[in-house]
Subunit: 140 residues, 4 copies
């Protein structure tokens, strides 16, 4: 009998421990090899001064998607820690909800690099509102 | 009788409109020309999977400090919008609270550049846990 | 009779004025709407201490591709100026030559955002060695 | 008799191997613990379309200063490799020469973070024209 968890289970267990994701209302909506999606309803507690979703909230889900996308390609027990990221806010983040779609573009021994696009969904239409590039460290 | 507001009042009024700062519990603790400080108690709803403050929450206060530092140097009615930022997470963000200290390093006609250091305070000691470099657009 | 130049001609004329591209031996190999390609033979004067192409030379062609991709979507006479960029060096840049492929991901009124992948070509095989994300200002 | 080299000698030996620094005419002007300075005469082969020093040349000396500043704090035989950097071009880079001043802001086990300011010197006056933030990997 194996104690091994699937990469999806490891990501879901770790996400559950992130109290900040609960605070903002984010959900993990897809976990595949090298790809993770995080969904955030654009609720009224997440806004900046003009009524758009705050860059910090956009960054939070994008960073989470970046890190967990990296984790899906790592061995059991390996954790991930964001070293740094850069985000361009392309358009005001408004709509019913946001979706951050993160994919790994390099998975090395000690570091991964992930790229994430964040989309705002409004009336069934998607618009890319931000793009993030992150460097993730592996911890065992 | 003038309707002019001081730069400090303009920043404080705008900060009040950011529901996300209330949601995470952030306060504006200093507003000077070219300099803004935002304080964030490290409460239990802001954490990532290892119990450190989430990079998204760290980014949120750093981005806010960056933008409002830029606003202090702009004329009446000008608003600020983050174009992009890059953040390096230097050490785990843990302690009683965080302080983001943002200063303007270039204030141009259409764009400002701000630099922010984020410190974790624990038992009266400060440690720099993150540094952010942001490009801010001016909107009139 | 019109004095108007095609976007391709404008980009090619501007590239000709960049003495640094001549110094390193870079060539403009494709100019399309929203897309520019710059090719750099990996000659022996471009290396860092381990014999890979220097990150500065990789950045130079990536930045040039980013800016000119933005220029292809702008009106006559508009010039471009890099505000900032971030580059991840994914793998050692070695091979016969490098190709930087830049595309615009947002073309606004005052700013563009371009994304560039740099590939190393060796024995007919391509490998992505760097990715860059740049913010470009428009000047008239 | 020891074979140990001082950190300064290690940095100078490595710099000598960078053919790209010779090609652009850069010199290593100061090597201290946690600090490195690189000087670049603004010669006519380094320019972009408006006659300013090309962002790629600015980045090249800034990246070199970042990496070698990190190396000064590492043990014998450790080499450095840039993982990523972000640079803001604050003002047109023109003058007699540029100086990149890099200092380490975090020196970890596997990674360092360096911050670099680049100044343009003209008629004895200095102006900060760019600021760079880099993540450096250690290789043994």
């Amino acid at each position: 009998m194996s104690n091994e968890k699937s990469f999806e289970q490891r990501v879901r267990d770790s996400f559950e421990k992130q109290s900040f994701m609960k605070t903002i209302g984010a959900e993990l909506t897809s976990v595949q090899q090298g790809y993770v999606e995080v969904r955030l309803p654009a609720n009224s507690g997440l806004l900046q001064q003009n009524g758009f979703v705050h860059a910090g909230a956009v960054s939070a889900i994008a960073d989470t998607a970046a890190g967990y996308a990296a984790m899906t390609l790592l061995p059991q027990l390996a954790d991930v820690l964001t070293v740094e990221f850069k985000i361009n806010l392309l358009s005001p983040a408004r709509g019913e909800y946001l979706v951050a779609r993160g994919k790994v573009i390099r998975s090395g021994k000690q570091l991964s690099v992930s790229s994430v696009d964040v989309f705002a969904i409004s009336g069934g239409e998607e618009k890319c509102v931000a793009t993030l590039l992150a460097t993730i460290a592996h911890r065992s």
